[in-house]
């Protein structure tokens, strides 16, 4: 069986799904990465200008980072397959909150045997990358899962000196830097919806909501940012 016949491709969303119903001529055209990009619409694309006007220079900014490559991995860390997957990702996190980064991706701990590998858009196999293929091959026939989840979640980036204040309106984790350190990612609730919160810098957070929650969470965060656009009341 060639790699292209492996079942994981049937779980691909977006461009490949589109290709399934397209005519052969269109399929050939959509193999071009630029065409693929142009055909896609991210879950919060309709909020892009609102995010821009709602951001406050030097205080708090919100933007969507669309189409990141995300691969769900379920494997026993202690198994041979776990070790092979770890060699692709630079390791598999051992405890809640831990993330492991190498030159091609960042791997988040979601559970004792569940991980999320996040990489830039171009790491995706449909855009010339090889991340999904490398992970599928690393798992091989062993028990576990490697599933392309790139269309499952979008990414928001909330940054600025007030970013933590905005998050704290809807998230009950202890986000103080002494507890919540840069490089930590936690699956939790923000604004009453499930999301993954990843602290990527001192005043910089990436939030991964599921696509269907992107509109709600985007507007929730904008609402939380509003007060910082007004002059401080003495």
């Amino acid at each position: 069986m060639s790699l292209w016949e492996k079942p994981y491709f049937s779980t691909l969303k977006g461009p490949v799904k589109m290709a399934e119903t397209a005519t052969p001529a269109e399929t050939a055209k959509s193999a071009n990465p630029e065409m693929l990009r142009a055909a896609r619409r991210s879950p919060a694309s309709h909020l892009a200008s609102t995010f821009e006007s709602g951001s406050v220079d030097g205080t708090v900014a919100l933007k969507e980072i669309p189409f990141q490559t995300m691969v769900g991995v379920r494997v026993d860390r202690a198994s041979d397959a776990g070790a092979r997957l770890a060699s692709v990702t630079g390791g598999l996190p051992a405890v809640c909150g831990e993330t492991i980064r190498n030159e091609r991706s960042t791997t988040l701990w979601l559970g004792p045997d569940e991980f999320l590998v996040v990489a830039p858009e171009t790491a995706h196999d449909s855009l010339g990358g090889d991340l999904v293929r490398a992970l599928v091959e690393a798992l091989g026939e062993h028990p576990g899962q490697v599933v392309d989840l790139s269309a499952n979640r979008t990414t928001f980036e909330l940054s600025g000196i007030r970013a933590r204040d905005v998050l704290e309106k809807g998230c009950s984790l202890d986000l103080h830097p002494r507890e919540f350190r840069t490089g930590t990612a936690l699956a939790t609730e923000i604004g009453n919806i499930p999301a993954i919160l990843f602290k990527t810098g001192e005043d910089r957070f990436r939030i991964f909501p599921r696509a269907s929650f992107a509109d709600f969470l985007g507007r929730w965060l904008l609402d939380g940012m509003r007060e910082f656009a007004s002059p401080e009341v003495p």
Binding site: C96, L110, G111, P112, S172, L186, A187, T188, E189
Partner: protein
């Protein structure tokens, strides 16, 4: 709102969890041998304890793992959190833990 200490993730709001009912209800050895009444009792009949109750919870929006919890149904005090498959903790030792400083019940 309860603050529940997930064995994997630490203390989180109750809203991150879902309740799974009474713990330690064993699946019948031989379901075919049961009468309808016995099967119905296995499926639907549960204790209605006043006091310490062993129950299952799942950390739905966190690590998505199940665990057991010993909770006082009167005071809502969480007496112990322990892994699936582990026996219900001995209450007398749990009491000793509760009186030690810094809540050794973690």
């Amino acid at each position: 709102m309860l603050l529940i200490s997930c064995p994997n993730c630490g203390p989180r709001d109750e809203t991150e969890f879902h309740y799974g009912g009474q713990a330690h209800v064993a699946y019948p050895e031989n379901p075919d041998a049961l009468t309808d009444r016995e099967w119905a009792e296995y499926l639907f009949y549960r204790d209605n304890t006043k006091g310490n109750f062993a129950e299952r919870w799942v950390h739905s929006t966190g690590c998505r793992k199940w665990f057991n919890m010993l909770r006082d149904t009167v005071t809502y005090d969480i007496k112990a959190v322990y892994k699936m498959g582990e026996p219900r903790p001995d209450l007398t030792s749990a009491r000793q833990d509760a009186t030690s400083p810094e809540g050794a019940s973690k």
